[in-house]
Amino acid sequence: MATVFQGLGATAAITAAANPLDSNKFLLSSRRSFSGKKTSLVVVRSDGSLNLNTGSSAGARRLDQLVTNAVATKADAAAAASASKPGHELLLYEALREGLEEEMDRDNRVCVMGEDVGHYGGSYKVTRGLADKFGDLRVLDTPIAENAFTGMGIGAAMTGLRPIVEGMNMGFLLLAFNQISNNCGMLHYTSGGQFTIPIVIRGPGGVGRQLGAEHSQRLESYFQSIPGIQMVACSTPYNAKGLMKAAIRSENPVILFEHVLLYNLKERIPDEEYICNLEEAEMVRPGEHITILTYSRMRYHVMQAAKTLVNKGYDPEVIDIRSLKPFDLHTIGNSVKKTHRVLIVEECMRTGGIGASLTAAINENFIDYLDAPIVCLSSQDVPTPYAGTLEEFTIVQPAQIVTAVEQLCQ
């Protein structure tokens, strides 16, 4: 069953406790208590090795199990791999492609434009096979002119098309900053509401494996001030597909942040059509002692740290905020009211990053519920070095998260 989610109007995009529509909440809560559904988590460790674990799904009735086991035991893992489980298993880039393909089938106005998206299939294989299926005009290979083709996407969106502009790396979209800020973000307002810009701008960003400073940028901090746009960050195949579909259906311009290192995550997702709410945060692991807010790749560092913390006797509540603009202060606020301690773990730079804004928002709204100052762990304010060891030092590692939680929970 498919529902259509209408995003908040651009001029009303405020970070106050924006309650999602009742029907949406009902849908999502029913999904969470979907019996038998287990999400498979692939934990990417900082030294590059992969750990296939099955994490427990978020359900209030399973709280007592979760305190002792941050990850499922061997028996659960065996059950999860059985063929009788509903849904199908795929990688994150395949989930993105599935979402994209379903939306392109559903609506003729949806088109993709970007560098190498057509015949090459996308630099991260997200659009593989789509050019053969939908034709050259719907999956458009652009020349290397970000400013021009982003502007082109925005102009096409003004007439009613629903383009998806792919930046080969988010960092390249800096060249299109004028178009994104002035035209994409502001046209709805400066035209007095005449035009909506239903564009999706997506691409991989974040720190990868020794890609160098210019290809390891986190643009969410630069874009967050632009009035009129929405930003979401996906972290699992489930929410990648859901957010992609919701972003395409939204009438607002949405920037979807993916991460270079998360494209090969494997997870089992439902067969039936679903959408994730663009403005809602995801409860990854309920807890009692401290709220850890994170997004994108840092979610996996946090979950790895959570394993260690559980062994040490702490009970962290992990929330993947997903919606970077506006923040889901409803979910976050409820969590703060429960735990009274907040740790923000992000990959953005320390100065002016998402964590800085989130700290300010929580302090403004929930200062009375905090027992300790908010701690924000972010990347160092340096260009990302090429050398692997140095690169590891610039981003937040699980050990730092464990230390921070221990300090906060004293």
Partner: protein, 269 residues
């Protein structure tokens, strides 16, 4: 125009014979719809294409509507200038007086399904696309009745239903948007074109050349119009003005000096 008004005033017995005489002196303007073929004076310089024909078919009535529209636009721009100097229009106010023929001529050959997008010198283009003077002046003065509800200002006039896409403040940024409009027309298989207007300043912008490249690559139905009003060359004229001022002052000083040295003033005391 004043004469025709005079001749139409009612029951003014004193002026009636005067008015009758005046109307006979008034030169009549033809409103016939007989086709008239006009040859434009300056030849086109083509580059890798066939130049369009220099003969344009029109009729006196249409020419009269052109004149009326251009005259309205001129008066509107002059009024906007006065309002700006009276600080009733704030911020920026870029005027199109002198260039009215460009947008009027363009409008004459297209329909409302064709798209026009331009930069910030958009008052007359908006009027040509079907905007009203009330909408224009309301927007310029920041009122709700403006075309963008007072939220845009001089540089952000839009009219979606007539295919006018603005109205953009950043030099050159409207040209890639124009490519997007043309792309959408090609995508939807509309038999329409997009006009993307820019100025001599925007001709320096990299995004213009990117847009030209993209338009050629995908054969987009776009016509890029460069309106060279030499606004970019403001520095040259400013320099000439300063030179003129300097020499005027020099002459004045020369006269003062002569007057004092040779005592010509003594005769006047």
């Amino acid at each position: 125009m004043a004469l025709s008004h005079l001749s139409s005033t009612r029951s003014n017995r004193l002026l009636r014979p005067l008015a009758a005489a005046a109307s006979s002196l008034c030169r009549p303007i033809s409103t016939s719809t007989e086709p008239l073929v006009i040859e434009t004076s300056i030849p086109f310089t083509p580059h890798k294409c066939e130049p369009p024909s220099r003969s344009v078919e029109t009729n006196p009535q249409e020419l009269l509507t052109f004149f009326r529209d251009m005259a309205t636009m001129r008066r509107m721009e002059i009024a906007a200038d006065s309002l700006y100097k009276a600080k009733l229009i704030r911020g920026f106010c870029h005027l199109y007086d002198g260039q009215e023929a460009v947008c009027v001529g363009m409008e004459a050959s297209i329909n409302k399904k064709d798209c026009i997008i331009t930069a910030y010198r958009d008052h007359c283009t908006f009027l040509g696309r079907g905007g009203t003077l009330l909408e224009i002046f309301s927007e310029l003065m920041g009122r709700q009745g403006g075309c963008s509800k007072g939220k845009g200002g001089s540089m952000h006039f839009y009219k979606k239903e007539s295919g006018f896409y603005g109205g953009h403040g950043i030099v050159g940024a409207q040209v890639p948007l124009g490519c997007g409009l043309a792309f959408a027309q090609k995508y939807n298989k509309d038999e329409n074109v997009t006009f993307a207007l820019y100025g001599d300043g925007a001709a320096n912008q990299g995004q213009l050349f990117e847009a030209l490249n993209i338009s050629a690559l995908w054969d987009l139905p776009i016509i890029l119009v460069c309106e060279n009003n030499h606004c970019k060359d403001v520095n040259l004229f400013l320099l000439l003005d300063f030179l003129r001022l300097f020499f005027t002052l020099l002459l004045l000083w020369n006269r003062v000096l002569n007057g004092w040295l040779f005592g010509r003033w003594h005769g006047h005391c």
